[in-house]
């Protein structure tokens, strides 16, 4: 567990005080809205459809029980009792009053948290695998590197006004659980000749021009991480377009200039910059590696766990879907899904947050992770504690056995909250989840990633869904386009648009036809939807979505 040092707490307190003064100057008329807006955005404060929104950073999704309790306090005292996990491992509060936000930032500063660089054209929260330090397939724990990048990028003077926002993800596992291919920079930890380093990807991103990243460096030794990342961003900072917001992300810079040109410039910049790094970064990395030491794992029998699995089918089902293999025998990583029936994907109440904090202390070595799919993980739980953990989660409505299934849908807030949205996402997600739960088909369908965005900016990662749904405004009516074949994990792929969009009330019937067609054509239950799609192509699925056209 990473501990916050006093110097960092002092820094966030000072930033909170600075923002309090800025709010006061806005309220007394010394600052215009045009002057204030960039200042509030630097502190994660947006103005949304119904209210202000505060986005709080959860660095690489790692959060301590005390910090989680502070989020619960914020939800209860200054919001409407809940918060929303985002796809970048942060949390958003949907109803804060501007006049209260300075107090909220002070409360966050008490536990070393803040909202700095959760908005604006800066380097945003560095994200990683929620099972970092726990996963069985890890080359190395990505968190010390993520922390190094976080410390370096916070208030990095050169990179406060980039052409556009900049997102970095880092993955330690053989399987990529951090979606590195869809980030401005993706880093995959790997080993070469006994040395730890990174495969470096650049130019990935979703939004209106979805593109997968490309490998710009096959192997970067770990000690060169900061100078190389700095070289990439410095190159982009100069070459990236500032004339057109929609062409300003690094993915467009790479697309327009070509990977080889970018690579040559980055390598040249890297050689120049590396001379200015005199080892402080490597010293810091050593300190961070020490601060992310593994907890003292227990060696205990797991007979009780096995017995409970035999005795309790609901528990067995939950352990089948919501556990992830741990690197230590007798342990598991637990995904607590926030996708219960009738629940808004990713919304957590204050009492649920407090319960997670308590359970992490009791059963989880004080460690909690916000997952990019809007769930929360307890990365280290001894299997003998799983029955008790499950019982406590179940009481709070948090034991839904659906991780990776049809109802485990990623959905952005959509037009229920977001000022940029063109249609709602949440009701569509709820309807799809309810429909397949009621039919009892979830288990039969198996692993399926449905992703819903309420506008082309793609915060719901619809392009990466096995089934993606994009909400649009078509002549004043909500309309939903369906994309098929996207994948965030195994073989990264951007989904292909299936055809004309559907009105809201026809989305569930369309997905129903699609999944029934899948059940018909799959070779056996081990062939997932995405596998069947890859084998057969779009035709049978398109025919199911558009039966009238297929008959014509």
């Amino acid at each position: 567990m990473f501990d916050i040092r006093p110097v960092e707490t002092d820094y966030v307190r000072q930033r909170a005080a600075e923002f309090r003064a800025q709010v006061a100057r806005r309220l007394d008329g010394s600052l215009t809205e045009d002057e204030f807006k960039p200042l509030r955005l630097m502190n994660g404060v947006y103005l949304q459809l119904h209210a202000y929104m505060l986005r709080v950073a959860i660095p690489y999704g790692t959060i301590s029980p005390d910090q989680m309790r502070t989020l619960a306090l914020l939800a209860e005292k200054w919001d409407k009792g809940y918060g929303h996990w985002t796809t970048r491992q942060n949390i958003q509060f949907n109803w804060p009053k501007l006049v209260d936000i300075p107090d909220m930032l002070d409360a966050l500063a008490d536990v070393g948290m803040h909202a700095i660089q959760t908005s604006g054209n800066t380097i945003r929260n560095v994200t990683t695998d929620a099972f970092a330090g726990a996963a069985f397939d890890e080359a190395a724990d990505p968190r010390p590197y993520a922390e190094l990048l976080r410390s370096w990028s916070t208030d990095h003077a050169e990179f406060q006004f980039l052409p556009r926002k900049f997102k970095i993800a880092i993955s330690g596992g053989k399987k990529d659980r951090a979606v590195i291919a869809a980030h401005d920079i993706g880093l995959r930890l790997t080993e070469q000749n006994g040395k730890t380093g990174f495969e470096v990807w650049i130019g990935g991103g979703l939004g209106r021009t979805p593109l997968l990243g490309q490998v710009v460096r096959d192997f970067l030794p770990e000690e060169d991480l900061l100078p190389y990342v700095e070289a990439i961003i410095a190159t982009y900072n100069l070459a990236g377009r500032r004339d057109n917001k929609y062409k300003a992300r690094i993915k467009i810079t790479v697309l327009e200039r070509g990977l080889d040109v970018m690579r040559a410039e980055i390598e040249e910049e890297f050689l120049a910059r590396r001379r200015d790094f005199h080892g402080a970064d490597r010293d810091a990395l050593a300190v961070f590696k020490d601060r992310f030491r593994a907890p003292s794992f227990r060696n205990a029998p797991i007979d009780g766990y096995e017995a409970e699995r035999q005795a309790n089918p609901a528990f067995r089902s939950w352990t089948d879907t919501n556990l992830h293999q741990h690197r230590v025998d007798g342990y598991a990583s637990v995904a607590v899904t926030f996708k219960a029936p009738g629940q808004t994907p990713g919304d957590a109440s204050a009492s649920q947050m407090r319960l997670l904090a308590d359970l992490a202390e009791r059963y989880g070595h004080n460690d909690l992770r916000v997952m990019h799919d809007q769930n929360v993980a307890l990365p280290h739980v001894h299997k003998s504690d799983l029955p008790a953990l499950y019982a406590a989660l179940r009481e709070a409505g948090l034991a839904t056995a659906n991780a990776g299934l049809t109802s485990d849908i990623i959905a952005c807030p959509g037009m229920d909250y977001c000022a940029l949205a063109t249609a709602r996402s949440i009701p569509i997600a709820e309807e799809i989840a309810d429909h397949f739960r009621t039919l009892g088909l979830e288990e039969e369908i198996g692993n399926l990633n449905i992703r819903i965005s309420g506008c082309i900016n793609a915060c719901g990662h619809h392009h990466l869904g096995h089934i993606g749904i994009l909400g649009l405004d078509r002549a004043g009516v909500e309309n939903y386009q369906i994309t098929l074949g996207g994948d965030a994990y195994d073989i990264p792929a951007i989904g292909e648009r299936a055809g004309a969009g559907f009105p809201a009330e026809q989305v569930v019937p369309a997905i129903d036809r699609l999944l029934r067609a899948y059940l018909e054509v799959r070779q056996d239950p081990s062939e997932r939807f995405i596998d069947a799609y890859r084998r057969l192509g779009q035709a049978p699925f398109k025919a199911a979505l558009y039966p009238a056209q297929a008959d014509a």
Partner: protein, 116 residues
């Protein structure tokens, strides 16, 4: 949403934005501001509406991002035309929060005081 909307007699409009201090939605009403969209002033004349919008822009200590948007005449006052404005006037669909909840609270208080 069209921020460049200009009202006419056939396509009237209202002026709306967000409360600076608290963030909730407000509508221009007789030169002041109301959280009740049904009480909004319905503008049917381009020149009058644009002058009113200038007046709104001139109140940065009250309102953030004021804009003109199409509305239609309804039995209880102006009604939204586009679904985005309908959501702004109601609140989110996943929780009973926002204006729909505030309205119920206000009406309950009204009933309560009527019984006193």
């Amino acid at each position: 949403m069209s921020k460049a909307f200009t009202p006419t007699a056939d396509r009237p409009g209202v002026i709306t934005g967000n409360d600076l201090r608290e963030g909730h939605n407000l509508w221009m009403c007789d030169g002041g501001w109301t959280p009740d969209p049904r009480r909004a002033t319905l503008f049917e004349d381009e020149a009058i509406a644009e002058l009113a919008l200038l007046e709104a822009i001139g109140q940065p200590g009250v309102i953030v991002g004021p804009y003109l948007v199409e509305a239609k005449r309804g039995p209880d006052g102006p009604e939204p035309v586009h679904f985005r404005e309908a959501f702004r006037q109601r609140g989110p669909s996943n929780y009973f929060h926002g204006i729909q909840a505030d309205r119920r609270t206000a009406e309950a208080q009204k009933t309560e005081s009527a019984h006193v």
